[in-house]
Subunit: 148 residues, 2 copies
């Protein structure tokens, strides 16, 4: 498969929302494509510290992820790469596309001077946890969320 | 105790590094105060999506945290507040200062339109986990890290 990684454009957004929602854990909370997603997209693209990346095969968007580059003081002033909302089209899972997506994320992080990649994954996603460990990630932290 | 929350300034940085390093888990990886922390500080203050907050008592900096405001597509286009590097001076722990620091974080998150706060905490920090649960956080995720 010939894959192409690029930054998401406005015309990709409906497909991106579909990919994010096509997931047992996230379906209920993603919502139907609409104004709120458009506002979110505009905020992501306006931020110098965020990139929304899509992967295409044969001109079709088959995966997405959001990268956030976070400067900091701890860990000797290191910047971190935060990876969120990683999705591959459900009919294409298990073919190594997620791995290529994550490798691309790490390349982007290194290009932005990040010394560390970090992500969280819902405790229900044990298959995803195996996947991240297989990429070399250490499952070292507990992740907490609070609605504001 | 009369507490004052404000954004960190360049003159606070040596004290901030001391606070971040005064911790069993982070001591080894924080490094001694130097050029790398200064570069990190400059990157944090240059970023519109990051705030380094200190808390003062009687003109002394006794606590610190870093806030990152992250726009996004998932969860109906919600922005998130990421809280990192939360520290209170070791001789003042257990007096509720951490709780006030977190409440200030949540206020800043709401002011920036964030619908969700999130953070990770090293699996070794079981006392911190109890603290975050006591603030209403759900311990719903596994946290992964990878050096780049």
């Amino acid at each position: 498969m010939d894959l192409n990684f690029r930054e998401a454009e406005r015309d990709d957004l409906e497909r991106i929302v579909e990919l994010i929602a096509d997931d047992a854990v996230a379906a209920a909370r993603t919502g139907s494509y609409g104004e709120l997603h458009i506002k979110g997209f505009e905020a992501v693209t306006a931020s110098p510290d965020n990139e929304l990346v899509v992967v295409e095969a044969d001109g079709e968007v088959i995966g997405v992820m959001q990268l956030t580059f976070i400067p900091g003081i701890s860990r000797n002033g290191a910047s971190r790469l935060l990876v969120e909302a990683v999705r591959v089209s459900s009919e294409l899972r298990g073919q190594g596309i997620g791995r290529l997506l994550m490798e691309h994320a790490h390349e982007r992080g290194r290009a932005r001077g990040c010394a560390l990649a970090q992500l969280t994954s819902d405790k229900q996603r044990s298959e995803a946890h195996r996947f991240y460990r297989s990429l070399g990630y250490e499952q070292s932290h507990e992740g907490f969320k609070l609605p504001l």
